[in-house]
Subunit: 154 residues, 2 copies
């Protein structure tokens, strides 16, 4: 029997990130889990989708709301390979997700502690959070993507 | 010739908020304007849409990206009847909207100064902001909506 721990689901989010990379998108992937089962997944699609809203977490939350036929994702966990930005951290609060698990930290835009911690403010609902799960793998896929975009000039 | 100032477009956002109220949704409306013309509009649809993402600003940004066929809404102004929440303020940053004009302040969730000011952090892009435009009308439509939901018990 598979032990479905945080790393198990982060590996699923990494698969989504890899699909993003293959589609020339910044590789970020997300899955939403309820009671140990994957409910929805998402990946970054901003460039090809030509839409600022098309982050991995937003796609996953959108699908999970449709799946549960509710705007409240109570009891759901969101796994994402990169620390959520303010838009996505706000969507996590709005959707009442119970727990957020992210991989790599984002010092430029991270809203779960790096630039700001949106979950430390007195909103109606605040999720638990856990950062740094498989952070090397989650970070490597991003740095490899950008290395290919900007090959060394010497 | 009509003088299309901030109040002119906020009145358009108020029409969207009124449509939301008629549909039993918390009355918030938004419009996105570029070069003095309305590009997209949105209204809150969370309850009937059963989706945590269905805020007025998100609908308007989604439509504006489709309209311009770009994730960058440079040179666009967003008018919204209520101070944006963190999700929507984050979406405004991500979409490179140039200026945000809101009506009523939101002391519970406002992310443009009331609870937090997301536009004061060192993100890649920060919009100009202007709060309090037609704030009485924008606030009244909300307080009237909640009064009807919770009639006095005495």
């Amino acid at each position: 029997m598979i032990d479905k721990n945080d790393e198990y689901f982060m590996k699923k989010a990494l698969i989504m990130a890899k699909i993003a990379a293959k589609n020339a998108e910044i590789p970020v992937g997300a899955v939403i889990v309820k009671e140990g089962e994957i409910l929805a997944c998402g990946r970054n699609r901003r460039e090809r989708g030509k839409n600022a809203l098309y982050h991995a977490e937003i796609e996953a939350i959108n699908k999970a709301c449709k799946c549960l036929n509710s705007w409240r994702l109570l009891g759901c966990e969101l796994f994402v390979t990169l620390e959520p930005c303010p838009m996505c951290a706000g969507a996590i609060i709005n959707s009442r997700i119970s727990r957020v698990i992210f991989g790599a930290y984002d010092p430029k835009a991270g809203a779960c502690g790096s630039v700001i911690d949106l979950f430390s403010y007195p909103y109606n609902h605040l999720p638990q959070k856990c950062g740094g799960v498989l952070k090397e793998q989650c970070g490597d896929i991003l740095s490899n993507f950008f290395k290919k975009l900007r090959p060394p000039t010497d």
